[in-house]
Structures are given as structure tokens and as C-alpha cells.
Amino acid sequence: MDTNISVAVQTTDFDIAQEYARLAGDAAIGAIVQFVGRVREQSEAGAVSQMTLEHYPGMTEKVLRDIGERALARWHLHRVRIVHRVGPLQPADQIVLVQVAAGHRFDAFEAAQAIMDFLKTEAPFWKQEATPEGARWVDAREHDERAVQRWSEMNDEP
């Protein structure tokens, strides 16, 4: 299954057109979902002038790959790609890409959502925001914990 999953953790930006181009010409694919998460200029704490993402090298890649494998085991998917940036980012910068290619749209949409929900609650990334009141570590959000319950079958790890 591994050949269908590709993950990357990087300081550099990613290009959604380039990621999409890898799927070009594959006529078994009927549905592609690309999700992009970006830095917002506003958070619960107020204006954000910069965001810095820290991670746990090694474990991050392992968790992302594992999330991809669980998605492939549950839905009919052709390919899963997850790219997450780390380091300093500015408002409007891209943070994360989840790209899922499937035969049908239900699989592609559900898998992309589930991957994001798991990434938000399992992948070892931590955000620190620079605000007018100084630097602030972002708190984990309860609604992300609730969202991940939707996919309870995917919680049963071997």
C-alpha cells in the first residue's frame, strides 16, 4: 500500500499544481480532493503577524504515513499525499496540503476530511503565534477532538 501514500514535512512552500500534475492522465481516478490550510491573519487571540510551526522530526512522518495507511484501508483510494510545512510562516502562507485521489467523490471527500481530523489531533506539530501581545502557543481545540470521533473505525490501530 505504501506506494500510494506520500508524505512530506518541509520548511519550503508546496505547489498545488505540481502536486495535482502527478495525477495527470490517470483515467482510473474520477475524483480528486485537495485541501489546503493556510495561516489566517486573525486567531482567537487577535491579530497574527507570524506563525512558527515546531514538530517532532521522525515521529511526524511516521504519524502522517500511518494516517494515510488507515485512510487507504478504510476507503477506496488511489493515492494519498500529505505535505506539512514547519518553521516560520506569514499570514496567507500555506501550511498543509491533503490530496486524495479516488474513483468516486464520496471516498475522496470523506478520506480527506478524516485525514485532516487525524492530523489535527495526532500529528506532533505545535503552533506558536506572534501577536501584538507577544508570542503565544496555540491551544488544542475541543472541536478537533470531537471531529475525530466521526471516524471511530479508523481509531482501531493494530
Partner: protein, 82 residues
Amino acid sequence: MRIFYFGRLRQVFGLGEETLVPPADATVAGLLAQLRQRGGVWAEELADGRAFRVAVDQAVVPPDAPLQAGSEVAIFPPVTGG
């Protein structure tokens, strides 16, 4: 046994990494008890009921998980990526 700290805990502890011998009972709970004995922010941040996670060899584990001399341990706040 290497121990890593991440995110807010790394900052509060003023420490990203240290090396310790496994605790007498060779469990995560034993290690946490030992760290709390340092007092101050250690006792405060690692108190029962505080939200933090422990990973051993890069997988999140419960408090009764075993530790060995070669274990890679990480202690960190709930994750906030994406």
C-alpha cells in the same frame, strides 16, 4: 534513555532534550513521578489532570507503558498542527 520536550513544555522547562536512566519501576508513570520531584514548573506542568502526552519510540503511550535504557521518550502538549 533520551527525553525530548516540545512546544510550550520545551519553552517552560527551558529544555529541549536530556538523557536520564530509566526509573526504578521502568514505566512512564515512574518517569513522570521522578520529573515532578524537580518541583516548580516540572511539578506544575506534569501534575495529574494537566493535558500533556508521552510518546515512547515515537508512539503515544499510556502511563503504564514500559521504558528501557534505549527508549526514546517525548513529552509534549496536545498537538496543534494543520
